[in-house]
């Protein structure tokens, strides 16, 4: 069950709320459909579109190669940009090097959003905690379902990995990278979590699903 209060655009909210609000006549109103959790001062979006935030870790697909880096599809309204300096530790002579040998179109990366300028220019980095993800497939879910797929202290994710022997990385942007034999099982489990994320006993249900076959 949801712990907190759901708000819709135009609904008055308490004064301490900081994000996704606007002022009118000295009062604060929500701009979005979202959840205000107890003792929290933000409205968490409850929607179907991923809007990037600095600090988010995302799965991305290389879309274009430029002279100074790569454009990456991160399932958001705009492509993100991975600059050379945030991708490689070595020096590269961009005039003599084919950048596709590092990251080619269609390849998958795990990256962190380090900067957003004017809602539009999104910079990502793979220097810390990032990586190029070899092989594997991408499964798409709703960004709002990501916390349930990871679970408390990553408990759900652990079960998914242990019971299927798959490598799984969940991006905040709703893209999930999976590599291993039982990809179909992981897919089934994710769909179950999406459907029943509001019900209790979900972890047991998922474990049961994965054990049967």
């Amino acid at each position: 069950m949801l712990k907190g209060k759901i708000v819709v655009p135009g609904e008055k909210v308490e004064n301490e709320i900081k994000e996704n609000i606007y002022f009118r006549n000295g009062e604060k109103y929500s701009q979005i459909v979202g959840l205000i959790e107890e003792k929290k001062d933000i409205i968490t979006p409850l929607n179907f579109t991923y809007l990037p935030k600095v600090g988010d870790k995302v799965i991305g697909i290389i879309e274009e190669i430029e002279a100074s880096g790569w454009f990456v599809n991160i399932n958001a309204p705009h492509f993100a940009f991975l600059p050379l300096a945030e991708a490689l530790n070595e020096f590269v002579d961009v005039f003599r090097t084919d950048l596709s040998k590092f990251f080619n179109i269609g390849e998958i990366i795990y990256a962190k959003i380090i900067n957003i300028i004017g809602n539009r220019i999104i910079q990502v980095s793979i220097k810390e905690e990032g990586a190029k993800l070899e092989d594997g497939v991408i499964i798409k879910t709703l960004p709002s379902k990501v916390p349930r797929i990871i679970g408390k202290n990553a408990s759900m994710l652990k079960i998914l990995q242990e019971k299927t022997n798959c490598k799984i990385i969940v991006g905040n942007n709703g893209l999930i990278w999976v590599k291993g034999e039982k990809i179909d099982k992981v897919y089934e489990a994710i769909k179950l979590i999406e459907k029943e994320s509001h019900l209790s006993g979900l972890t047991e249900k998922v474990a049961k699903l994965l054990e049967n076959g």
């Binding site: 655009p9 701009q31 979006p45």
Partner: protein, 235 residues
């Protein structure tokens, strides 16, 4: 001539200022970023919002804000006699006024250089199709996570003789003396859609606006209730 009022009731048995039954389905189109079905009685519209998403070719992009595109369309089976498929002049005009309503309800500057595509299909038309479409789009935009000043509440009013009525059905639209399409953001007290066709005196018109505002409150509450109900079950 069609008799639109009999024994103090309207052709479908309603009181003058009574809305038809409102029905809302939330997220009927999983492919869209947000979608909703809205009906007033026999008028049914389904809407979907795709975006904000990248816009190409580049010259179409708005530097500081998003581009809103709207397509209002009536299905061939939605009318009494089959409507030729495709966009006619009426649909183009309605799409334009709906677009204006949406542009003035969202925080456009949050999504520079993107496009938000808004589609409304009238599945069954029994009057008031444009406001039904706009109500469906309001919910769709909210579900898509688009930042908005308020949910958009839309309704029609009209005049039959000396009576002001709301939520016109097809007969009242065709044979009434006046019809008004109206949408507003209650939170900011702003009218975002206003069209009037037919004849009406100033006092009657101002009274109709007052009734419309009251009815929009009910419509907005219903949108809010359904959105919350959906997320309580599905989030």
């Amino acid at each position: 001539m069609v008799e639109l009022i009999k024994d103090g009731k309207r052709v479908d048995g309603r009181d003058f200022e009574e809305l038809r039954k409102i029905k809302i389905e939330v997220n009927p189109i999983p492919n869209a970023n947000g979608s909703a079905l809205f009906s007033f009685g026999n008028t049914i519209a389904i809407a979907a919002v795709y975006g904000p998403r990248s816009l190409y070719p580049k010259f179409l992009q708005e530097k500081e804000e998003t581009l809103v595109r709207v397509r209002y369309n009536m299905a061939p089976f939605s009318t009494e006699t089959r409507k030729n498929p495709g966009i006619d002049r009426r649909s183009i005009e309605i799409s334009k006024v709906i677009k204006n309503a949406i542009e003035n309800s969202i925080f456009s500057e949050e999504y520079p250089r993107t496009v938000i595509d808004c589609y409304a299909e009238v599945l069954s038309g029994d009057g008031s199709t444009r406001v039904t479409s706009l109500n469906a789009l309001s919910i769709s935009l909210a579900l898509a996570g688009i930042k908005m000043k308020d949910l958009i509440a839309a309704c029609t009013a009209g005049r039959i003789g000396d009576k002001i009525i709301v939520d016109l059905n097809q007969l009242e639209d065709n044979y009434g003396d006046c019809d008004i399409s109206f949408a507003m953001l209650l939170n900011t007290n702003e009218i975002v859609l206003l069209q009037l066709d037919g004849e009406i005196k100033k006092d009657e018109f101002l009274y109709a606006l007052k009734v419309l505002k009251e009815k929009c409150k009910i419509i907005r509450e219903e949108q809010e209730r359904k959105i919350k109900e959906y997320f309580e079950k599905n989030a």
